[in-house]
């Protein structure tokens, strides 16, 4: 674009002046500007990724410096795919992923829909609702363990009050049945506003004349909602789900602080298990293979999802 303007300018001015006008050539500037970023990403993201892939074919252990590194081929991968514990972690991850998204989409969309009714002071309340999502998940997660304490924890106390039980009778994060729900509750509390904000943007992007046309056609409010509002917001909602899906597949900080993967390994999500293998058991090769599998899974699922998202957008 600007190149052509510059060329014209350069043709009209004497050569020496033209060079002066240009300073560095545009191409040189482009590479100079993009170069450092690409370099940094190669050094701290791509190089480690390639290293992870290499390590996944070895039996290396990072806590033993002078041990011979042996090439073991696909053995690590074989072990992971035949390990029943891994499937349990995957189940925990899937449970977490499904229910967090389910509740967050439901509550998030409902809230956006209500805020869009433009009642007085809605901006203020929106800001207040958004606060939890900006805070440090680890710090917040740690504090939630206090809210979840049996007897003294506020959460247990309130829940017990409403169901008429004794607050010391149930434990949220100490029980095998309730712990998976304890992490879903906190994640939902924290991230519902994320879905809400994006849905709100979707709702606000719908031009009014569409509804006016629907009114003229005597479409009922109910019908307007399902045939206009929902389809118009859907691309936004799907985008929000993509972001949250990727984030929750990688979920680590919040849940580590809340349950540490326990009790037993009932809330041990993929990332937590990975950390255990890599930095507690020091099975570097094995955990690298696991990391590769996780990354390929996220990347694969995200790609399929993006294709679907684009189809929805084109409609």
């Amino acid at each position: 674009m600007t190149d052509t303007a510059m060329d014209k300018l350069a043709q009209r001015t004497p050569p020496r002046v033209a060079r002066k006008v240009r300073g560095l050539s545009d191409r040189a500037i482009a590479w100079l500007f993009v170069g450092p970023t690409i370099f940094l990403l190669l050094a701290i993201n791509i190089f480690p990724l390639i290293w992870t892939i290499y390590l996944s074919f070895t039996n290396y252990r990072a806590n033993r410096l002078n041990r011979e590194v042996e090439w073991v081929g696909l053995r690590n991968y074989e072990r992971i795919l035949t390990d029943s514990d891994i499937w349990l972690n995957m189940q925990a991850t899937a449970h977490f992923l499904f229910w967090t998204l389910f509740f967050q989409v439901l509550i998030g969309f409902a809230l956006a829909y209500l805020i869009n009714k433009k009642f007085r002071g809605n901006d203020l309340w929106t800001t207040i609702i958004v606060l939890p999502m900006m805070l440090s998940p680890a710090v917040v997660g740690n504090f939630w363990t206090f809210l979840y304490q049996p007897q003294i924890g506020l959460f247990n106390y309130i829940v017990a009050f409403f169901i008429g039980a004794d607050p010391s009778s149930f434990e949220m994060i100490g029980s095998v049945t309730l712990a998976p729900w304890a992490i879903v509750i906190v994640d939902t509390w924290m991230w519902t506003p994320f879905i809400m904000l994006i849905c709100l943007a979707g709702l606000r992007s719908i031009p009014e004349y569409i509804y006016e046309a629907a009114e003229i056609d005597r479409a009922s409010k109910w019908r307007q909602f399902w045939t206009l509002t929902v389809p118009m917001v859907l691309p936004f909602l799907m985008l929000a789900v993509l972001f949250r899906g990727i984030e929750n597949f990688k979920m680590f900080d919040l849940v580590v602080q809340l349950t540490g993967g326990g009790p037993g390994s009932i809330t041990e999500l993929a990332s937590i298990n990975l950390k255990r293998e890599a930095f507690e058991k020091w099975r570097t090769g094995y955990s690298s293979a696991y990391a590769v599998i996780l990354f390929v899974t996220v990347f694969g699922l995200a790609s399929i999802y993006v294709k679907a998202l684009n189809k929805v957008k084109e409609r």
Partner: protein, 312 residues
């Protein structure tokens, strides 16, 4: 506003919607209010049953957060009367203050690493975003997608080789190592956000400047940068919040010198297990700046959380 609009909700609808949203907001605030309140409770009040809503506020949590204490004999306590108000607070437990805790250092680390990586990410991000926005870079879409895809990796997955790499380079548990790492993580956000902001600045300004005899470089920092300032500040705050909140890399790659506050706060221990008032005090001081930033960022929040994909 037009006098009549079909989408304008009725008074009653507004009232119902408002009530429901406010109810949700109040419920969602409870944990945050509880964190702030617990910071001002005495340890006994913090773990009372039933949970206390009304209590005598004390600064004990904050004193415990910033100090290390030790028990002393009665003779020693009698011979050395407390000189300051905070000394008096710990005397209730027959203790004396022996020095500062590590919280101050860890907080400072969060500030150093946060600002360092924010500065670097925004600096590099602005350059790259400008180039992507204004020049035809071969494969630019692929490059941009590549930059974004670095966010799909679980941090733990890259942490293994980074841990090994840093060990060899002597970067583990150093401020520089963490700054570089957070910059690498933040740069994708910075590039995408800033590209969106720069795309919105009309090219005519620069073209006019170029015709006036400015070099590209001058046009960039005398024309484009001032125009993009709002976007740059918003991007910087997002990067800062991310580094501030990050836990996974921090807990795996730092243990002392460069440890930030998030891995440290959960380890604040009292006499019997976690000292909740001190933990809450530490969390309050750590979370408040972000709350203030969030309120300041209201208008750009949506962009920040969607990498610029959704704009109002």
């Amino acid at each position: 506003m037009s006098a009549y609009s079909v989408t304008e909700p009725s008074k009653r609808q507004k009232w119902v919607a408002g009530t429901l949203v406010i109810a949700y907001a109040l419920i969602t605030m409870i944990p945050l209010v509880w964190i702030i309140a617990t910071g001002f409770k005495s340890p006994a009040d913090a773990i009372s049953y039933p949970p206390k809503v009304m209590f005598e506020p004390t600064l004990e949590g904050y004193v415990n957060l910033f100090t290390t204490r030790t028990r002393q004999t009665d003779e020693f306590l009698a011979a050395n009367p407390p000189e300051t108000w905070y000394e008096e607070i710990v005397r209730q437990y027959d203790m004396v203050i022996v020095g500062p805790s590590r919280y101050g250092e860890r907080f400072l680390n969060s500030i150093i690493i946060g600002f360092g990586s924010t500065f670097l990410s925004v600096f590099l991000g602005v350059l790259a975003a400008y180039a992507f926005s204004r020049f035809r870079i071969p494969l630019s879409d692929d490059l941009l997608f590549f930059i974004l895809s670095t966010r799909m990796m679980p941090p733990i997955a890259v942490a293994i080789p980074i841990f090994l790499m840093y060990r060899n380079l002597g970067l583990s548990d150093t401020h520089l190592g963490m700054i570089l790492l957070y910059t690498a993580v933040n740069i994708s956000l910075a590039v995408w956000l800033l590209k969106g902001f720069i795309d919105e600045i009309p090219r005519e300004y620069e073209e006019a400047a170029l015709i006036d005899g400015y070099t590209r470089f001058q046009a960039f920092y005398k024309v484009v940068l001032p125009q993009a300032m709002t976007g740059i500040v918003a991007t910087a705050i997002f990067c800062l919040i991310f580094s501030w909140n990050e836990y996974a890399f921090a807990v795996l790659l730092t243990s002392g010198t460069a440890q930030t506050a998030p891995p440290f706060i959960p380890t604040i221990i009292g006499v019997g297990g976690q000292d909740w008032p001190a933990v809450a005090a530490g969390a309050t001081l750590f979370l408040l700046p972000v709350m203030i930033f969030t309120v300041a960022l209201r208008k750009h929040l949506l962009r920040g959380i969607t990498f610029g994909a959704v704009r109002k």
